[in-house]
Symmetry: C3
Subunit: 343 residues, 3 copies
């Protein structure tokens, strides 16, 4: 009997089923340093324990995206091993910071199923929750993927498509307990621009770029225990290229966005995202952002900005789709998220 | 007077001599994270402090192979700087887990010497012991290497060839104190297969592959303070290639073996191993295992499996040697080890 | 209004001005492990907490050069973003070891200004001080760079050129509090050569070499939050090459110097340094040292050696400049520093 994991096929999912993903992971000082080594991450709240204390937190948490990568990585063997396409994200919320010594676990509930008309694939919707060693949720998000059927004769399940918010309402976002930006130090943070300085519709070119290396994306992707073959095995794709984990591009673009958004300190919501074009080693990733919305909170000194973060391989700024409604070839990522910013 | 280390030559070794290797090393959260970043390591006992506690340990230890690499790395300047061939390993036993904050030190006793008939080289056998800061042994193993003579006129020493076990008897293996698999969580560990599910002779194709990068093998090899020139200096070999540290291939193959052997949690014995062919960057390492033996223990829930772990550069499975008795060109590593597994 | 940092131009600096650089940084076990992974670092004081305790310190500090890189990295956005040349270093002193958990902050005082005769650029001298979370200085150094003017009409400032020591007098160096080499373990440190064994004028070829990889220098440079475009973006220079951060070469050469200078344990002074030729990936860095001076101290067992550390890309030893007084093309680095050594 085969001992290796064949992954799940479309007909293996049942609405309401909860999948407890394997291999919990303790994170700490090493993951924090590696995050700063792999991405040009400079947001002060994640760089300095002292700065974090000044914002009401006990110490610097693990970068929000690192927490996402760890939670996401665990789902790969159960959700996307036989996926043919990663279709979308929605309703991602960070619910509690992750600190050194925390152990993360992921579980996914199947919340939607829809077989495609070709009878060979179907779309699976899961809501994934990451929890810490005390059973407290640290984040949840919805993801949907197109998965192959193994048994083409398996009957199509009843169609269930979840209703998802295109944008998480600001009042549903969770600001970390204790956060307080009323004594925020703009000089140490690196930029003077506060919440009131950003206008809806404003576009920010983050200027800097990083050329992607095979060793770096593999080190990052392994660190999150995402072991999808396509990222590591140059013999897997016919063209001999290793496809770069989309999360590597997300983290790279977010880190680059420091230059212009140094005070967009914590990510609290992920409204959606598309990996517009595949990324390969040798490309130079640059990024720009657009302010999509703003909201106030009742937390001292804390405002919310909704940002579009676009990563490119051609340095273009401002445009994402062509007249045909398709992503331009130089666009790698189109992400829509909420962050907290000092008012 | 030259201040740099010329290494030892064959005539410099004496039977019974104990060499205390330099540069003790404190390991911690950084080494743990880097191990997960450099190898697709997913064994739950090393990934999650909570899982390790559920198995009776105080926290996740450093990966057994990382401990081996640290202990081994220290021996290089004294044992293999002038080696022309790494001939074998035997009787390797892990005696105590290594935890964050431990400081490792290595010492080697010369247990065998045999000059070759050409008078230019000889074989040196050492038993190396790694100890922690309390002087407790954490592992020991025998290694033999062929070393050059510097002074060809030096007399041949009396021939001493140690008798070594081809396989460590199961009763000589040390199960870490406190280990208890009676409440082992197979779901969190990632696979349902227990000790009773594996049959002697069974072959497992671990399916996944990783293409080797220069930066990755150098980062790994340096981390263990193994500074043999041939791994780092592209001008050293006539072909301009950097030879990859054999231990990098061992760790890569062991990590890949998670897929099918997720419950072979801890390595407790190294019966032998051969680096069948040299490994260079650009090759894609895959792995397969064969169950060679099984044994029971008196520790709650803990069984032993003896595994052959084979790493390949061509994805082949099942064959290691040709009709001529030589290793096939696609075989990189042929390792024989004991691991603990929940019954 | 542009939100990104345009950097400072020559006319933006004022004598006596103190610039508090952004993004303090907490360092720890991860940075320590990464330093050992990126450089062949083996000095025992930084490798083993036990060895450091034996020398009177509470535990292994962060490598002196890592502390320098962190302090230096913070200055880049304010000092060298519009620099056209990095002209020199002087009077660098390590004032206090940096331990895991420390948070570093940098500030620079403008101590010199001199507009060039072309009216387009000028030289800026700053004295940078790194402090920990208790406000204690951990190091300071002078650096001068040539910076572009943005407004060519801006009036030239009064010329102020600081008087700098070509060599820091030994009595001005700070030996870490508590350091005591009277029970120094030469065997564990890796070499028997003590302070008395080195002669002024002695040249040591460190023999080993490391071929530079893009992924490695970028990982290192990012870790210190040095985000100068030229190190990361292959589209930035017309030749498509990424210029390697000079500090990467410094750390590589210093780590290589273990072989022959294993007991030059801590760096306490930086007299000066020149990045003689640019370094690019693919080059193989080797190093040699010359003993420039020696001094005694009143600290038990501790002597001082002044060393010239030269990194090369061609393996040459002993010569740095040609008859024309210019650096030879194979010289990458010419550094002059003070280190402590057991007497």
């Amino acid at each position: 009997m085969a001992k290796t994991n064949p992954g799940r096929f479309f007909e293996d999912y049942r609405i309401g089923e909860v999948i407890h993903h394997a291999v919990p992971r303790t994170v700490g000082a090493g993951e924090r340093a590696l995050y700063h080594a792999l991405y040009p991450a400079r947001h002060a709240l994640y760089s300095s324990d002292e700065f974090a204390k000044g914002c009401g937190l006990p110490e610097s948490p693990l970068d929000d995206l690192a927490a996402f990568h760890v939670v996401f990585g665990k789902t790969v063997p159960d959700v996307s091993l036989n996926a043919v396409a990663n279709l979308g994200y929605a309703e991602g919320r960070w619910l509690r910071p992750v600190y050194a010594g925390d152990t993360l676990h992921s579980a996914s509930e199947v919340i939607g199923l829809k077989q495609n008309s070709n009878g060979k694939t179907g779309v699976v919707y899961v809501r994934t929750t990451g929890t810490n060693q005390r059973g407290e949720p640290v984040m949840d998000y919805v993801r949907w993927v197109m998965v192959r059927k193994n048994d083409l004769e398996a009957p199509a399940p009843e169609v269930v498509v979840p209703e998802l918010n295109a944008v998480i309402p600001a009042e549903d976002l969770v600001i970390p307990e204790g956060l307080d930006f009323s004594r925020y130090d703009f000089q140490l943070a690196g930029e003077p621009h506060r919440w009131g300085d950003y206008e809806i519709g404003e576009v920010i070119d983050h200027v800097d770029g990083v050329t992607i290396e095979e060793a770096e994306h593999m080190i990052a992707t392994r660190l999150w225990q995402n072991t999808a073959k396509v990222h590591f095995d140059a013999t897997f794709r016919p063209d001999g290229q290793r496809l770069i984990y989309g999360g590597h591009v997300i983290s790279m673009a977010r880190a680059l966005s420091f230059n212009g958004l140094a005070n967009a300190q914590m990510i609290v919501g992920l409204n959606g995202g598309a990996h517009a074009n595949p990324c390969f080693s040798g490309l130079t990733v640059k990024a720009w952002s657009e302010v999509l919305d703003k909201a106030e909170t009742e937390v001292p000194g804390v405002g919310l900005v909704r940002l579009r973060l676009v990563a490119t391989s051609d340095g273009s700024v401002g445009a994402v789709k062509g007249e045909d409604g398709k992503y331009l070839s130089g666009v790698l990522l189109d992400l829509d998220y909420w962050a907290v910013m000092p008012v």
